[in-house]
């Protein structure tokens, strides 16, 4: 039933699973979003468990942004009452296209500094990068923008049944100075907590049925395992191209959904 769509770009894969469940299998949106959130949690936990220890995950920065994502997730219910779902989807589509082009425009720019001794500030980080064969460092820029993007990501997370990585990863990479791999790994950790907030609410309201979640979670686990291996062996340039392509596909899906 579940197409294994966990892609290791710091995304939970919910962005593809929800359209699949609603458009192809005819699930109601609430049920699809709830199932999707549980797969987001599963992907986040398993991917981060495998990555923990190699410094790609920026814990301090991630936990700072989690404040914004969880607050956004909790307020998602309020947003749902103020804005029509179709408006939200169209807005999402426009943002996705814009971000895709920003990423394509920066495809050859790197955020990492090859000198590992450079001061990274309180929230920056350093990690071992295979491509440059050494330890690289980065600084975080524009923290308010990162917090804002995380808030929006958390906000749409519970509404659309996604982790929100599709919003955070491109923003963190394009404007906040974070290397793509670090942004993806940190986002992957964050989406677990973000999605849990939304999933708890669906569960409490009886919209998250364990029997429906089981095959989706197991399928996505298999997919995310493959995704991690792909992401680790692919070049950053290729990952940026893939991310941009995904953003464009997603924006089309969102427009299609908003017309229904």
């Amino acid at each position: 039933m579940a197409g294994a769509l966990g892609v290791a770009l710091g995304l939970g894969g919910g962005i593809f699973l929800v359209p699949f469940l609603t458009l192809a299998l005819g699930f109601p949106l609430k049920s699809a979003a709830a199932i999707s959130l549980s797969t987001v949690i599963a992907t986040s936990s398993s991917v981060s468990a495998r990555r923990a220890g190699n410094q790609l995950i920026n814990l301090r920065f991630g936990m700072t942004l989690e404040v914004a994502t969880t607050a956004g997730s909790l307020l998602g219910g309020i947003t749902a009452q103020l804005v029509a779902e179709s408006t939200l989807e169209r807005l999402f589509g426009v943002v996705a296209v814009a971000v895709a082009f920003v990423m394509l425009g920066r495809i050859n720019r790197r955020n990492v500094m090859v000198d590992p001794t450079v001061d990274t500030g309180r929230l920056g980080g350093r990690f071992h990068e295979a491509e440059s064969g050494g330890v690289v460092a980065y600084r975080i820029k524009r923290l308010p923008l990162a917090l804002f993007a995380s808030f929006i990501a958390g906000n749409v997370s519970s509404l659309l049944g996604i982790g929100g990585g599709i919003i955070k990863v491109p923003v963190l990479n394009a404007w906040c100075g974070m290397p793509l791999r670090a942004a993806a790994a940190t986002s992957a950790l964050m989406i677990g907590v973000t999605a849990t907030g939304g999933a708890i609410i669906y569960y409490g309201h009886g919209d998250l049925r364990p029997l429906l979640a089981a095959p989706a979670v197991l399928g996505v686990q298999a997919g995310s395992w493959a995704g991690t291996h792909i992401a680790e062996n692919a070049s950053v340039k290729w990952l940026k191209l893939l991310m941009s392509a995904l953003l464009l596909v997603v924006s089309v899906l969102m427009f299609v959904r908003s017309l229904r």
Binding site: S46, A52, G53, M63, V67, V193, Q221
Partner: protein, 98 residues
């Protein structure tokens, strides 16, 4: 190659997530196989329910472990930030009963 050594917290978080993922996936798999084999028993339902609850509890446990570790390191700024995250999750539990 001198890789920076991973922080204690990163290793602990990895363990929590690994255990949570394995436990919930195993229970989901057993429960699903039972249902597909025609055992629509209460045991199968209970296993699936437990799997889902472990899945939801895993990220929350990770946050709690972070709070304890930042507390141990006397990193008050991050104790506060992680407490706020936990409070938001608690808020979701409250909201789920409204």
């Amino acid at each position: 190659m001198n890789r920076p050594s991973p922080a204690r917290l990163e290793v602990m978080i990895g363990e929590v997530l690994r255990f949570g993922t394995m436990a919930s996936s195993a229970l989901f798999a057993i429960g699903l196989v039972m249902v597909l084999a025609g055992y629509q028993s209460r045991l199968a339902q209970a296993l699936l329910q437990a799997a889902l609850i472990i899945l939801l509890a895993t990220p929350a446990t990770r946050v709690i472990v972070s709070i304890i570790e930042y507390f141990r390191e006397r990193d008050w700024m991050f104790v506060v930030l992680t407490l706020v995250v936990l409070a938001a999750l608690a808020g979701s539990v409250v909201a789920s009963h409204l």
